[in-house]
């Protein structure tokens, strides 16, 4: 089974909100010092699912990402977890792409790779949360898709998948080649092993740009983006919390009950 996984490099989503800073003038987020970028949360589950599928059915996993040089560290981590190959899609023309632009670049790279059975992606990115790249990629490649999956079962060239809904689960069947996006319930991503890290450090990660990937430069990058960012700021979240204090916690609970009654909340 040939699997392609697309990942995104993002600001570490675990940084405490107080360390999260925005440069309002330049409309960018200022990463805190000494905090390295990470693989977007749901994409890690896509990597793990690819490895689980390969372990069960054999095959090869290729990881793709669009980004700068620092994204190579991320790709190394994917290789260390158990992926076979990785390609960095990097070009000045790619910078500032919106999800649709990224989808076009990825589609170009997928076509260059040749045949595949499935493409796995995370259901949504943990930074810009557009949830559009994967579905646009399926659209660009004219393949079927199933999103926010919590279970994937292989039955020959048909996959039986479970999608997580607002109020339950939905079972769908999909024919390969297809694109699947995964939710966090699907598995528990492994940590890279020492052996994996050693093997990954010896692997070469090729870089493909506009000369390798067939993509119309006018439809990618900042110029090809369909949305203009006009403001970026931190929301005012101060709820003016009143801390209920008392000699004992039981008494504090008692006071809290009284306050909620006075406020007509209870």
């Amino acid at each position: 089974m040939d699997i392609i996984v697309c990942v995104k490099q993002v600001l570490d989503h675990d940084i405490p909100p107080r360390d999260f800073k925005v440069d309002e003038e330049n409309l960018t987020v200022v990463p805190p010092a000494n905090v390295s970028p990470v693989i977007s949360n749901f994409d890690e589950y896509a990597i793990e699912e690819a490895i689980l599928l390969k372990e069960a059915h054999g095959g090869k996993i290729t990881v793709l990402t669009v980004g700068g040089n620092s994204a190579k560290d991320l790709l190394k981590k994917c290789l260390a977890m158990g992926c076979d190959e990785a390609v960095l899609l990097q070009d000045e023309a790619f910078e500032g792409s919106d999800p649709f632009g990224v989808a076009r670049i990825l589609a170009g790279a997928v076509k260059k790779l040749g045949t595949f059975d499935i493409i796995l992606c995370g259901r949504i990115s943990s930074d810009l949360s557009q949830g559009a790249t994967a579905l646009a990629l399926a659209e660009a490649l004219d393949i079927p898709s199933a999103s926010q999956l919590i279970k994937i079962e292989v039955n020959g060239d048909t996959f039986r998948c479970e999608r997580v809904l607002e109020d339950g689960e939905e079972v769908v069947e999909i024919m390969t080649p297809c694109l699947l996006t995964v939710s966090n319930e699907i598995n528990n991503p492994r940590l890279p092993s020492v052996k994996g890290i050693l093997m990954a450090s010896r692997k070469q990660i090729p870089t493909w740009g506009t000369s390798e990937v067939d993509v119309d430069a006018a439809t990618v990058g900042a110029a090809g983006s369909t949305l203009e960012l006009t403001r970026l700021y931190k929301p005012d979240l101060s709820g003016n919390c009143e801390f209920i204090e008392a000699d004992s916690l039981e008494e504090a609970a008692n006071k809290l009950g009284d306050r909620l009654r006075e406020d007509k909340i209870i």
Partner: protein, 329 residues
Amino acid sequence: MSNDVLVLAERINDRISLVSSELCNIGRKLADEKSGSLIALLLGGAGTKDLAKGLIALGADKVIVAETEILAGYNNAAYTQVVDTAYKEISPAIFLVGCTSVGRDIAPRIAFRNGTSFANDCTELSLEDGMLAAVRPVYAGNALSHVRSKTEAATASIRMKAFSLADEDKSRIGEMGEISVSIEAGALRTSYIETKQVEAEGVRLEDAEYVVSGGRGLGGAENFEQLEKLAKLLKAAVGASRAAVDAGWAPTHMQVGQTGKIVSPMLYIAVGISGAMQHMVGAGPSKNIVAINTDPDAPIFQRARYGIVGDYKKVIPALTEKFEKLLKN
């Protein structure tokens, strides 16, 4: 391109979903500003036509229905094909969907295929110089972004509960239309098999007036029992943070947050929840938050009206007892 606004309404069993009402409300405002019509689209199996009439009462000038057995269950390939046919016929200036498992699964495809912009999970929508402008929380709510469509035709999904519901006016008149569907199941590369609906025990999280939610600080699945006792008393729904769900202490459908449920109760009691931004996306619309946490610096307190710093194992039984007394009076 027309000046019309097209909204994708959704059917849940035998009713029109609440987000459809929000879509009609904001869609109506944008259509009026554009001097265009509000057109609502509803897809489904038997009985969809009858339900669709309700969308006129919610503000639609025209309702387009696609009713056929193959649309009875959600199927990305079938739905995308039908929505795209309607989209091309209407050529709307603005296409809106709910940020639901259906809406966000279709809209990016329609937008990409038709060359429009796409803004996901919007909490505000307006027009700026005739272009669709949106407010979107990004970085799991750590920042708010304002974006404006660069393409004249725009597509957006709206966050559930971020917009007010449309005022229902049953005397409104509008036009009913149909879209004929000629899809052969065998020609599709995806097929719908079944839906496993999780029946919430007691009160549904989304509808609850009171929610008691537990997080990593609870320390184990068995400790949710304490919360359930309090919840039963308040006729509250029990929720959980993603940390508690990931630890296996609570099932997925109890998760409150960006990828779980968005709740808007009168009172949200957060127990042992630190208040990570992605959790607050789901808990944020609550009218009042009470936080109980051992860490006085937990971000949840920044969002709370009342807070108690301390061990919930002491606070919750005492609070349950207190509520018992209060509710008797």
